[in-house]
């Protein structure tokens, strides 16, 4: 079906111009210049010397970088294996037919994700306080054997971060699972039940295959977001925390670029992170394709 063009030639470019210009200046240009930047050592934004691949070579031998990688990986594992199963569980409960108050529950569970990470960090700084905090007081009441003055922000930094992000993001991820569950063919579910399948069998053989693509997407987004963790530990601990237990990759990038002033090293850290995440996205896409065919 070919039709004569009835709009002026410039029309699409008029609408595209603001995006293309801004995208070129503030996305494409920084992206390309960051390659060059990562081959330099800088002292603040003004002065720099070219050092070739030294930043990358240093990074591989930098023990702090590997601490940051380990911490970030632990936090990401917490998102994947603690937070996402809880999000899926909440979505399954909310998806039960004839549930009352579904909209209210959804609103409540989702609401923490609107609170900025900085504000979550200030709030959880008080909740996790070893002596005065709400969490230790509540734990002491329901579980008397739990150690008093449990040092969340001194020694159990990673569980504390995972807990705070569980509060913040479980409801957010639940929304995606819920949207996926609502596309599951209910006649298939009914048919399986009539054939005598228990709840686990229905989930395993009917529900899960139907929501697997969205679950893969949610898991990917969750990993990408978790790998970029910065504000939560930075504000909660006021920096990397005791023995750098809260140091993350992006916090290390921030410290090097904007506290030490070496934008080149920061750009190199940025590229290592970016290449890892892009590789992950490509692998996920390939797996998804394979599953479909």
């Amino acid at each position: 079906m070919s039709r004569a063009r009835i709009y002026p030639l410039w029309a699409p470019w008029l609408f595209l111009a603001p995006f293309v210009v801004l995208f070129g200046v503030f996305m494409a240009y920084p992206l390309i210049s960051s390659i060059g930047l990562s081959l330099q050592q800088t002292y603040g934004p003004g002065t720099s010397v070219s050092v070739g691949l030294k930043n990358y070579a240093d990074l591989i031998r930098d023990p702090l970088f590997w601490i940051a990688v380990r911490n970030t990986a632990l936090y990401t594992a917490g998102s994947l294996f603690v937070q996402l199963p809880i999000a899926l569980g909440l979505a399954l409960l909310l998806n039960r037919p004839r549930l009352r108050g579904r909209a209210w529950f959804r609103l409540i569970f989702f609401s923490p994700s609107l609170v900025g990470l900085v504000f979550v960090a200030t709030l959880f700084g008080l909740i996790l306080h070893e002596r005065e905090g709400l969490l230790n007081a509540a734990l002491a009441r329901v579980w008397p054997a739990f150690p008093r003055e449990f040092p969340w922000l001194q020694r159990f930094v990673m569980p504390a971060l995972i807990l705070a992000s569980l509060w913040m993001y479980a409801g957010f991820n639940m929304i995606y699972f819920l949207a996926a569950l609502q596309t599951v063919d209910q006649t298939l579910v009914e048919a399986a039940r009539v054939d005598g399948a228990g709840p686990w069998h229905v989930f395993r053989h009917v529900t899960w295959p139907a929501i697997a693509p969205v679950s893969g997407f949610v898991a990917l987004l969750s990993v990408i977001g978790s790998m970029q963790l910065f504000e939560l530990p930075y504000i909660l601990l006021g920096g990397p925390g005791p023995e750098s237990r809260g140091l993350t990759i992006v916090m290390y990038l921030y410290q090097n670029g904007f506290e030490t002033g070496d934008l080149g090293y920061a750009a190199a850290i940025g590229w290592v992170l970016a290449l890892f995440l892009i590789g992950l996205a490509l692998v996920q896409r390939a797996l998804q394709r394979e599953a479909l065919s």
Binding site: R3, I6, Y7, L9, A11, L14, F15, L16, P18, F19, V20, L22, F23, F26, Y29, P30, L31, S33, S34, P45, L90, L93, L99, F105, L107, I108, F109, F110, S111, P112, L114, G116, L117, F119, T122, L123, F124, G125, L126, E132, A138, Y176, A179, V214, F217, V218, F230, I235, G238, Y254, G257, F258, L263, A266, A267, G270, A274, L277, I278, A281
Partner: protein, 286 residues
């Protein structure tokens, strides 16, 4: 069989109610903490108990923290609140307009270079934001825009994610025939966009405005590296400073956090239907 399903139903409500309670507890803790006096703060975790009406010690509650936020000149919280409103409003309106225009061009025009621009938009979706921190800072420095609102706002006005969302929304919601009919009637291209295209993609417009507003409101790392003068700080940076300086003044810190999150919560509750629809549309349909 009947009793078994009743049992399952009761368990469902029990778990959901428990989870809802755990979700709401930090909010309740925050609201109570923001209004408790210094002495009452540690006496109870939520409201101070006493012999007053409802079993609450009303003398343990105060507006002192809230008042101090806005009257203590070293805190400048009123200025930060205005900065956040300004920064988030301008960013979200301009970014939404830019994304809607770009999405419209890619969805409803055939032109040389469309494939290339579409590929750029999709490619940009996988670039993680931290990669751009150092080079963007160097660029803003070279443009002489460090410590200005322009340096903070302008780099965020070309959201590839938004262009992608609007491209999808306009493909679904704006029929080509309608555009052609309007052109036949002599409607100009600009009027066509503002009077026909934008109203037809209103749900996405609302959702994306809200997403970008909340994103800008909660943005910490951007203003933290671009701005230096405290009189330009938005709330996210201001609260981090309050925590650094008055970290043990819990009442003040909680009042500041409360003031910082209430506007976003109010906006969301007003627009939640559009917001959730916009959030999931890309994921589930795509």
């Amino acid at each position: 069989m009947k009793t078994r399903s009743q049992l399952a139903s009761a368990a469902t409500y029990l778990i959901l109610a428990g989870a809802a309670l755990l979700t709401l507890a930090p909010f309740a803790y925050l609201v109570c903490g923001a209004f408790k006096t210094r002495d009452a703060f540690f006496a109870a975790h939520f409201l101070p108990r006493g012999s007053g009406p409802l079993g609450i010690d009303w003398n343990g509650l105060t507006l002192e923290h809230l008042a101090r936020l806005f009257t203590d000149p070293s805190l400048r919280f009123g200025v930060s609140l205005l900065n956040s409103v300004f920064y988030a409003s301008v960013s979200s309106v301009l970014a939404t307009l830019c994304a809607a225009m770009g999405g419209y061009a890619l969805a409803r025009f055939a032109f040389r270079g469309r494939g290339f621009v579409t590929a750029l938009v999709l490619g940009a979706l996988i670039v993680p934001a931290p990669l751009l921190l150092a080079p963007t800072y160097a660029l803003i420095h070279r443009l002489g825009l460090l410590d200005t609102f322009a340096g903070l706002i302008v780099p965020g006005l070309a959201p590839a994610f938004g262009v992608y969302l609007f491209r999808q929304a306009i493909r679904n919601a704006v029929p080509t025939d309608l555009l052609e009919a309007a052109r036949m009637d002599g409607c100009g291209e600009v009027r066509l966009f503002f009077e026909i295209v934008l109203p037809l993609c209103r749900p996405m417009l609302g959702a994306f405005l809200l997403i970008t507003f909340i994103g800008a409101w909660n943005n910490f790392i951007g203003p933290q590296i671009i701005l230096q003068s405290p009189e330009r700080f938005p709330l996210a940076v201001a609260i981090a400073q309050v925590k650094g300086v008055y970290g043990t003044d819990y009442g003040l810190l909680m009042a500041g956090t409360l003031v910082s999150i209430v506007p976003v919560m109010a906006l969301f509750i007003g627009l939640q239907r559009e917001f959730i629809a916009g959030l999931t549309s890309g994921a589930v349909k795509g």
